[in-house]
């Protein structure tokens, strides 16, 4: 079982490494969106500090959502996905491996670049640390929930726009607690525990159920 997981994971990572621009596009999209906000709302330090967490999270939401389209698309076009559905291995495990690879390629870079973005918004080093932790726990949830939408909209005309309509509302809980954690960290660092615990709970539940739902959606889309 675990070998299948590794096999798919390594395959997806290798494939992505051969087309590195895709990964970089997501990352730069994130950076550009975040950099545009100060130009729109003004560069006053106080305002930026207040907006920072929310802006970073919304940008992360959008970036991870835009990358979702590619989660199954390539495998769908060349028929690999159909083969995966037909294998004896549980489809949800394969889907989980694909989601993990997807997160490593699109979610993890966002976490790593967060300090840079945090500095743009004059966040304190504590706040940046909290933001990185929240992103580290939160972005996998985004990939997991998003996979359901990506599977449902597989191969549709205008799938990207539709995907955003379906998935963005479902991201709200992660957004609320992800941004909330950074906000309370400015008051008292000890307050962030319930936020991170909740995000962790979301992650556990999503790991359990999202692969099942996405594999059901894939079967519907491929039949």
């Amino acid at each position: 079982m675990l070998r299948v997981f590794w096999c798919i994971l390594l395959r997806d990572l290798t494939l992505a490494m051969r087309r590195r621009t895709d990964v970089l596009t997501t990352l730069f999209f994130f950076v550009i969106v975040v950099s545009l906000f100060p130009l729109g709302v003004g560069t006053e330090r106080k305002i930026l500090q207040m907006l920072g967490p929310g802006v970073v999270w919304v940008a992360a939401l959008l970036a991870s959502m835009l990358a979702l389209e590619r989660l199954f698309a390539a495998d769908y076009e060349d028929g690999t996905l159909e083969q995966m559905v037909l294998t004896a291995q549980p489809l949800s495990l394969l889907v989980l491996a694909k989601i993990t690879a997807h997160w490593l390629l699109t979610g993890l870079p966002l976490v790593l670049i967060a300090p840079l973005v945090g500095m743009q918004y004059h966040l304190t080093s504590d706040a940046i640390l909290v933001m990185m932790m929240a992103l580290l726990i939160g972005t996998p949830v985004l990939s997991l929930i998003g996979a359901i939408g990506a599977a449902l909209t597989l191969g549709l005309r205008g799938g990207g726009i539709l995907l955003s309509l379906l998935i963005l509302p479902l991201y709200i809980p992660v957004l609320v607690y992800g941004a909330g954690a950074v906000e309370v960290s400015s008051v008292d660092l000890a307050d962030i525990r319930p936020y991170l615990t909740l995000l962790g709970a979301f992650l556990l539940v999503a790991v359990l159920f999202a692969p099942l739902a996405s594999s059901a959606a894939l079967k519907i889309s491929l039949e």
Binding site: T153, L156, L162, P169, P173, Y177, Y195
Partner: protein
Amino acid sequence: MALNWFRFAAPASFYPIAGRLVPVFWVLTAVLLLVGLYWGFFETPDRLGGSNPQKEYYRIIFIHVPAAWMSMWLYVVMVGWAAIGLVFNTRLSFMMANAVAPTGAIFTFLALWTGSFWGRPSWGTYWDWDPRLTTELILFFMYIGYIALHSAIDDTRRADRAAALLAIVGLVMVPLIFWSINCPDPSQCAALHQRSNLTQIEGNILFAMLMVALAFWMYSFATTLMRLRSIILTREAENTWVRDLVSKGGRP
């Protein structure tokens, strides 16, 4: 016991039944609506006291609360039919879910619209990021998402099943979303809406509100069945019974 419920699950046998039920529901809608609105406007006090005194504008409650109830109930009904469709693989259940969705979306929009018209005189603002308002807005997006996904897929079978799955995922998420907006700080929850309690509402107001809620239910049955008949006709266009029916002039 010999009654076979799946007989009614055949679109061909349900179509005439629905046709006979629609007028009944229209009459019920009209009667209940008249009673409810008459009671609401003429048998209730003009002003209410309490912690947040209300003037005549509180009469929006007679459509606001029933519309908000309907928006939630219809979503549950829709998910119910979608789930039945996925489990038993019955075509009619999916059609039923499809027929419910637009009516649900309309009631969701009405709940938001009437709510903002009530909020302006009562709270002094048309919109506030109150948990219930926000969740209602999300619910509206869910309806739109369901309808959009269904209409984006050309293959009917795939559209039915994909939209059904989406609706079920949505039902799981809605309480979570409500809770997360209601308690942005995990240790405390706050809300602009007063904690509502049906037993604390004055009798006449409650009566009018319940009458309109029932009227909205009947209205939903009627429009859903009408839409269902159209869906059945479109999807079964190749069957002989539809052809016979159309050549006879379209009456049930």
